[in-house]
């Protein structure tokens, strides 16, 4: 069950069969996959009402981001020079900023910037981190040691410091923000992918595949990857929220997306100067940002609860670690053990609420 599947399930059309393969034996119909996804989503929605709410919010967020030019009343960078710092009115629903730009339109287009950066970063680092983690975990030995030490080192630097460093060195642009965030986040995916690979590698079916003479590429793609990808995707949803925060933090500091780009972080930093005269400049992007982050966190929590408990524990551990605390289990094993125990307690409460009856 993946976040992507959850988000795209509204288009149930089965992918067309390749036209060039008429002589092949009939494949099992693809519809079953779609049906399985639909059923998975239905189960998820029933079991996790909060998660379903988050899912609706996220769909709304994505829709607004995609349809930004249609939904927004004005062009986000056009300056209405006669309406500078105007409070919310019928003409400008959420007011205007110091250059006379419509705040609502900028907030809507800001969703687009966040989504582009969030999706790109999450996908790239997910692919990269998973590939590194799987290879490192499967082949082990010297390769594993070298790769993991480098990953540890990257994670020992607090995320914001490393982000600042890379972003400034590369210069402010959307592309460079994505690169910087990818460097910071990839180790998290590497970590969980490696842990899961180590687990799956010992399963009898992998042994069996190896005994029948399957090569490493086949074992990796057909046996290991499908059996570990769920936890990677769950982590992806939680990390997406972090990416949105980090993106706005960077543009807030003036080293993310460059000025005319509508971005929530940029709007916040531009608004600081007019805190007293025009509070809507702060409040609007702050609320937009918070709701987006909140929904992704909620979805991540719900997905985590919905998956099987073993996956939960790994993801929880990893989530605590995504912002540079990943070394912990190696540097501080007893601390990590304690944390794991506590967090499994936290997981049982679903993080967001429902606490099971305490044992009597």
């Amino acid at each position: 069950m993946t976040q992507e599947n959850l988000l795209t399930d509204t288009q149930p059309a089965a992918p067309p069969r390749p036209a060039c393969a008429p002589a092949e034996a009939p494949r099992p119909p693809r519809r079953s996959t779609v049906r399985r996804v639909v059923r998975g989503v239905r189960d998820f929605v029933r079991a996790q009402p909060l998660g379903a709410t988050a899912l609706v919010l996220i769909c709304l967020f994505v829709l607004i981001a995609i349809l930004a030019p249609v939904v927004a009343p004005y062009d986000p960078i056009v300056q209405h020079r006669r309406n500078i710092l105007e409070p919310p009115s019928a003409e400008f629903l959420l007011g205007t900023d110091d250059l006379g730009r419509d705040v609502l339109s900028r907030a809507i287009h800001g969703a687009r910037t966040s989504l582009v950066i969030g999706v790109m970063t999450t996908l790239i680092s997910l692919a990269l981190g998973t590939a590194i983690g799987v290879v490192s975990g499967y082949f082990g030995r010297g390769l594993d040691i070298v790769i993991q030490r480098v990953m540890d080192a990257v994670q020992a630097i607090p995320g914001i410091v490393l982000l600042l460093f890379i972003a400034v060195v590369l210069g402010p642009s959307v592309r460079n923000t994505i690169i910087a965030l990818t460097v910071v986040i990839t180790p998290s995916f590497n970590r969980i992918a490696r842990a899961e690979t180590l687990r799956v590698r010992q399963e009898p079916y992998v042994e069996a595949a190896r005994a029948t003479g399957a090569g490493a590429p086949r074992i990796l793609t057909r046996h290991i990857l499908p059996n570990m990808i769920a936890s990677v995707f769950t982590l992806g949803s939680l990390i997406f929220a972090g990416v949105i925060i980090a993106e706005s933090a960077l543009s807030f500091l003036g080293i993310g997306a460059p000025p005319p780009t509508p971005s929530w972080g940029l709007m916040l930093s531009e608004g600081v100067r007019y805190v007293e005269r025009a509070p809507w400049l702060i409040v609007v992007p702050a609320i937009a940002l918070s709701i987006a982050v909140f929904s992704f966190n909620l979805l991540g929590d719900a997905l985590r609860d919905h998956l099987d408990p073993r996956v939960q524990r790994l993801v929880v551990q990893e989530r605590r670690g995504w912002w540079g605390r990943r070394l912990i289990s190696r540097l501080a094993p007893s601390l990590a053990q304690g944390a794991e125990r506590l967090e499994s307690t936290d997981t049982r409460t679903g993080g967001t609420g429902r606490v099971p009856d305490p044992p009597r």
Binding site: A156, I157, P158, L164, F165, V168, A241, F294, A332, Q337
Partner: protein
């Protein structure tokens, strides 16, 4: 125990050396160095630029620079700032107190508020109070700390026409001014930790309250207040200690934005300015300092943790 600590420290040292290598490699991979950036405005000749590069040792290959730097570290020399020409160590030490103050106060505020909220929520479990408190906790987990700070700033500016003083004064010079300036940053940094602590306290309190030993204590006729505050809460504090240890590194990293926003002269501001100026020695030193702080803190907390909780001793698995 000592061998255990030494092994962790050794591993930490390896990680720090790797961090240094990574930082150096990233820094030299990109076009444009501090010298050309500095001289662009002045319009200096090529000879002058080369002379400057030689002075800073920028003309040597990366590996030589790295080696020299590591050699300096061993002697307690972290290099000299390209801009102010002061030793990085001095620049740094002048700013450490502010960051430490912020971090510790934030932890303190976060854990006190978090513990209170968690205990109240656990005791009133299922009621409206519990629901509200839990919602607050989840909300604060999602709102990034600089947004909390901005919103607080906005609210105070509108409703009370109050804003913090612009110039920083140390707590010993002018306590009132210092307190005013530090209040919002500490709250903003603390709320994230607060939310996490509150959630954890609540769930581990619920677990304690349902356990056999609490039933025994109640059966003994102990007052409910004592049951909750003494017996159940004490068992939950270790949980919170763990979480705070993990939280501290995040808070220290998070001070970069907050310090910049409130004009607090801490290490976060130092590294931000240095990164903008491409003041390499300062950037390298700060980055590695943060990494070192993190590594050392984690090791220390780990050892403390093992000392505090007799159930967690090395080589013995947790049940």
């Amino acid at each position: 125990m000592i061998a255990y600590a030494l092994r962790r420290l050794g591993y930490g040292a390896v990680v720090l050396v790797l961090v240094t290598v990574i930082v150096f490699v990233i820094m030299r991979l990109v076009p444009g160095d501090a010298v050309s950036l500095q001289l662009q405005e002045v319009g200096a000749s090529k000879e002058e630029a080369d002379a400057l590069r030689a002075e800073f040792g920028l003309d040597a290959p990366v590996w030589v620079q790295l080696w020299n730097w590591l050699g300096g570290v061993v002697q307690g020399d972290l290099g000299t700032s390209f801009y102010s020409r002061e030793p990085v160590v001095d620049l740094f030490l002048a700013r450490v107190p502010v960051t430490i103050q912020l971090g510790l106060l934030a932890i303190l505020v976060g854990s006190l508020l978090g513990l209170t909220i968690g205990v109240v929520a656990a005791v009133t479990r299922g009621s409206a109070v519990d629901g509200t408190l839990r919602l607050i906790a989840v909300a604060f987990l999602s709102v990034p700390n600089f947004v909390v700070a901005l919103l607080t700033l906005t609210a105070l500016a509108i409703w009370f026409a109050w804003s913090p003083p612009l110039v920083y004064a140390g707590p010993t010079e002018d306590f009132a001014s210092w307190a005013q300036q530090v209040a919002i940053p500490v709250l903003a940094l603390g709320t994230g930790g607060m939310a996490a602590v509150a959630r954890l306290t609540r769930s581990s309190m619920l677990e304690s309250l349902g356990s056999d030993y609490i039933r025994t204590v109640r059966a003994k006729g102990v007052r409910e207040k004592t049951v909750v505050l003494k017996h159940a809460l004490r068992n939950s504090t270790i949980a919170v200690l763990t979480l705070l240890g993990l939280e501290l590194a995040t808070i220290l990293g998070g001070t970069v934005i907050i310090e910049q926003m409130f004009g607090l002269p801490g290490t976060g501001q130092l590294i931000y300015q240095a990164v903008l100026d491409r003041d390499y020695p300062v950037v390298v030193a700060c980055t590695i300092f943060y990494a070192a702080l993190f590594v050392i803190m984690i090791i220390v907390i780990d050892l403390l943790y093992a000392l505090v909780d007799p159930r967690i001793r090395h080589g013995r698995a947790l049940s």
